[in-house]
Symmetry: C2
Subunit: 224 residues, 2 copies
């Protein structure tokens, strides 16, 4: 009984959310601000990957970060300290995902009109964020090697909704039994066109390809 009630409510929230996300997306397009919605499990290395990405491209594009957490602001301080870019912290007040209203709050607060590229770091969770459009240009997800190659089987909605999958912590491949080919097959079955970037923010492997992709997409978006 509880189940049905909650599902009905989610539908209402979604309907509102999609409308608001579409309006926000149009405004972002008019302002030429490319927004990436970055999703992952807790502890996948989102913050380390972001710091390394920002430092490689911040001379070429003006970047802002909207950092979402249930309650803390540790990651926001880490990113600001290590990159020097503006980071705004959103507290979700216990919510397990962002919606387009929260995304708008974060984007307006950071004055997105002045930015070429804003990353919204979503709440660490592979389930709820997959259901909420934030008006982003790019849906990206990080899966870290220690989490295992079976995750597309368990969280199919998330894997089917992302434009880009970054596979992080590949420097730890020797310690974990992680079958890259099996992962890719499982992901492509759900999402044939997804781009996959294996990276290690520690050794730098794969970071250039990932950053070049981002810069190309930002430029293409701004030309339209």
């Amino acid at each position: 009984m509880n189940k049905v009630r909650v599902i009905e409510i989610q539908k209402r929230v979604y309907a509102n959310n999609d409308e608001n996300a579409a309006i926000l997306r149009k405004e972002l397009e008019e302002n030429k601000t490319y927004v990436m919605n970055l999703m992952s499990s807790p502890g996948s290395g989102k913050t380390t990957m972001l710091v390394n990405t920002i430092n490689r491209i911040k001379d070429k594009v003006k970047i802002g970060i909207v950092e979402a957490d249930v309650d803390s602001d540790v990651d926001a301080h880490t990113i600001a300290d290590k990159t020097g870019v503006q980071v705004n912290q959103l507290h979700s007040g216990g919510m397990c995902h962002l919606d387009s209203g929260m995304a708008r709050e974060g984007l307006e607060d950071i004055k997105y009109g002045d930015m070429d590229f804003v990353v919204i770091e979503n709440i660490g969770n592979l389930i709820c964020p997959a259901s909420y459009d934030l008006g982003q240009a790019l849906n990206a997800m990080i899966l870290s090697v220690p989490e295992g190659d079976d995750k597309p089987l368990k969280y199919p909605k998330m894997f089917s909704k992302v434009d880009v999958l970054v596979v992080s912590k590949i420097d730890a491949l020797s310690v974990f039994s992680f079958d890259f080919v099996a992962l890719e097959q499982r992901v492509r079955k759900l999402n044939p066109n997804v781009k996959i970037f294996p990276i290690s923010a520690v050794t730098g492997e794969g970071m250039e390809a990932w950053c070049n992709y981002l810069l190309t997409e930002i430029k293409r978006f701004q030309k339209n």
Copy 2:
């Protein structure tokens, strides 16, 4: 606006949920069935840890597993194949947590009255499951070393609600910068009485202490 609406609804669900959980807890006590609610991030090693735990204690207590997933049943098959115990799969239909109604469904289906010990493996998520009482005797959480020692700062509710924290994948300590002392301090600040068990299901380190603790708790519960 969306935020407020969802929070109100959660409160209604919680109220119902807590009442139902209390009734279920009483039934479990009368039947002398010790239930552990096992929570963690995706990819923390829950299934591997469970397989190793079950195989070490299954000769002493009759065990059943209720496995929850959004959609798949890979873990259920792994556990059943590697331990021989009864595993029932619950599909949450997209929900990011179990509630006491779903727990009851799983427990009744597995005929909990015949069991000494039932593990409910919750949905992989550090946020939502922390808010729902399932009628369990023990709330346990797994944090894996690759996720990082900062997680109590980011998911305080989960860490403050568990009776037991299992720190898994300690065989990977050499690859990751993970400060065990800092972790313990952060956890104890939220939850002074939590029991902490560092383990590696791969090397077996720490598994005996963890299994002895479980057996002692099950026996104590059944004597009351």
